[in-house]
């Protein structure tokens, strides 16, 4: 059994609101090509296994798995799809390496959200067809109810949620790959049209197109391939109940459980001290707060105040979503978790350009699969190999 897995190559397209010049295949090909060049590997010879993440109704194709191998260099090789987030895909690739049967693995995620003309109707089709769907409501109501329950439990305010938006949109201005960088004022966010109270339009991430690919390697190969391997110290994923009736509405139980697993694997007793920055899901502004608490990076109910005080800004004690998050980069559907992980990797490599954080060596990425799921994943990365027992 191998003991460590590292990311040795990353590649991505720019993230844009629309990408009319390319099909999903060209987007995937561009990301993969860049990742292989970054890792110095030839996919036709060196890669032992490929993992992609996708959902059929987001692609408009049943069994979308069919259409992935060629543009990844994976034809006639072991390739499989996970119907999950990019971090689930990352975990699937890492597990394969940990078996000792595979040395180099590739994971890919992408979004062609701009090609989906009826996304809310599709999302609604994820609801229980008998108990929920006949009510015919826009699924954003699920996020709104969750926001109401969360804000009531913790006392988080609309101002604090707006502070998440202004921070992340501003951060995105320093990320050349982002789609939605902007200087906004909190009042503008709060004054934007209410979609489903308490959520207003600017608290909801807009979608973007793009693709991300990563090359993973076992310890030996990683040290051979890369001068700056980024180690996956811990990874966890978990679901709460999928049913709207029995899930926990006021807290992100999936993220709490996923984080506990990731920290245990990383041997982290005190994540709050050891984790220097975080990239967390912010599909809705309140989600960033809820997820920070679920990750144990602040006390339950404290994330709002922490954000309002500027501590989660790039210069603060715990920078969160320096990339711009989903609010600033764009919601990338299944690729969302890989976008969070990508920023952690770039920061740890010291390749984050004008948004580079000083002296960071440990960061965490977290994802949520979006409405109406209770599914999330957490990965802890480090620029140092560290140790991993068990």
């Amino acid at each position: 059994m191998s003991t460590c897995v590292a990311i040795v190559g990353v590649g991505w397209t720019g993230f844009r609101p629309v990408t009319p010049e390319a099909s999903y295949k060209e987007l995937m090909y561009e990301a993969a090509r860049r990742a292989y060049a970054d890792a110095g590997v030839d996919p036709r010879k060196d890669v032992d296994t490929f993992v992609t993440v996708s959902e059929d109704f987001h692609e408009g194709t049943s069994i979308f798995d069919e259409y992935v191998p060629d543009q990844l260099g994976g034809a006639q090789r072991p390739v499989h799809t996970i119907s999950g987030d990019g971090l689930h895909g990352l975990a699937a690739a890492a597990m394969q390496i940990l078996t000792g049967r595979f040395r180099i693995a590739v994971v890919e995620g992408h979004s062609k959200a701009s090609n989906i003309l009826t996304l809310p109707s599709i999302t609604a089709y994820a609801l229980d067809p008998v108990v929920n769907r006949p009510l015919g409501f826009h699924p954003v109501a699920v996020a709104a109810l969750e926001a109401d329950a969360y804000m009531r439990r913790t006392g988080a305010t609309r101002e604090q949620c707006a502070a998440v938006v202004t921070k992340n949109r501003r951060n995105a201005l320093r990320n050349p790959s982002s789609a939605y960088g902007a200087e906004l004022r909190a009042e503008e966010v709060m004054a934007s049209e209410v979609v489903a109270s308490p959520l207003s339009r600017l608290e909801i991430s807009d979608h973007a197109d793009g693709a991300i690919a990563m090359v993973l390697a076992d310890a030996k190969s990683a040290l051979r391939l890369s001068r700056r391997p980024i180690w996956i110290r811990g990874i966890g994923w978990a679901n709460d109940s999928p049913s709207l009736e029995s899930r926990q509405w006021a807290r992100a139980a999936y993220a709490e459980r996923a984080a506990a697993r990731a920290y245990r694997m990383a041997g982290m007793a005190d994540p709050r001290r050891e984790i220097q920055f975080a990239e967390v899901d912010d599909t809705f502004a309140f989600k960033e707060l809820q997820h920070l608490e679920a990750l144990g990076l602040c006390d339950s109910g404290a994330a709002g105040a922490l954000t309002a005080s500027g501590e989660t800004a790039p210069g603060g004690r715990l920078p969160v979503n320096v990339s711009g998050g989903s609010l600033g980069v764009g919601d990338l559907l299944e690729a969302g978790g890989l976008a969070r992980a990508l920023e952690v990797v770039l920061q740890l490599r010291g390749e984050a350009g004008s948004r580079q954080l000083e002296g960071v060596s440990v960061g965490v990425a977290q994802s949520w699969r979006g409405l109406p799921t209770t599914s999330g994943a957490v990965a802890v990365f480090s620029s140092e190999a560290g140790r991993r027992e068990s």
Binding site: S23, K25, R44, Q71, G73, A75, S114, L117, P129, P134
Partner: protein, 171 residues
């Protein structure tokens, strides 16, 4: 284990159980519309169809010409962007006489789907299309066929700009 289990779960229903209302059910229909960006390779293919010609793509490294076009070579992973015109004729690689439509209606005149290896590709590369103007009993693997195009004013840049492939004179 199966020898120790006398009854397995799972309750079979008949269509009548639904129709009579003996069991409750609910209908729904997905509203899922898309506008799939074609990209440079399939975009060029569609443009060729509108112009009334087949377009392939060539990988210089593998010395291979294939159709439908793609932006990458799945063999060597190099980029492919050299689009080349191809003949609109080819050879039946395999075929079927299909008496069922895609939405499971029975028909008496069969649809004639085939994989047609297009001339000028290497190694033989085919596309999925239909055969027409042919006695179904005369179709065989190896039959030589040519595209029958819609008139240019009706072509929209779609695979259906070719109505079907029909046997070349002398097959």
């Amino acid at each position: 284990m199966t020898e120790r289990i006398s009854s397995f779960p799972g309750t079979a229903l008949g269509e009548g159980d639904f129709e009579s209302g003996r069991v409750l059910s609910v209908h729904d229909r997905l509203r899922a519309h898309y506008s799939w960006d074609a990209g440079p390779a399939i975009g060029r293919y569609l443009q060729g169809l509108k112009e009334g010609r087949m377009v392939g793509v060539r990988c210089g490294r593998c010395e291979r010409t294939v159709v439908p076009p793609r932006s990458f070579c799945e063999c060597c992973f190099g980029p492919m962007g050299e689009f080349v015109p191809l003949a609109d004729a080819g050879t039946v690689n395999t075929f079927s006489l299909c008496y069922v439509t895609w939405d499971v209606r029975r028909i008496t005149d069969p649809l004639l789907p085939a994989v047609i290896d297009i001339d000028g590709t290497s190694p033989p590369a085919g596309i999925l299309h239909l055969l027409g103007e042919v006695d179904p009993q005369e179709i065989r693997i190896g039959l030589r066929v040519r595209a029958v195009w819609k008139p240019s004013e009706e072509r929209e840049g779609a695979i259906t700009d070719i109505r079907y492939f029909k046997p070349l004179d002398g097959g």
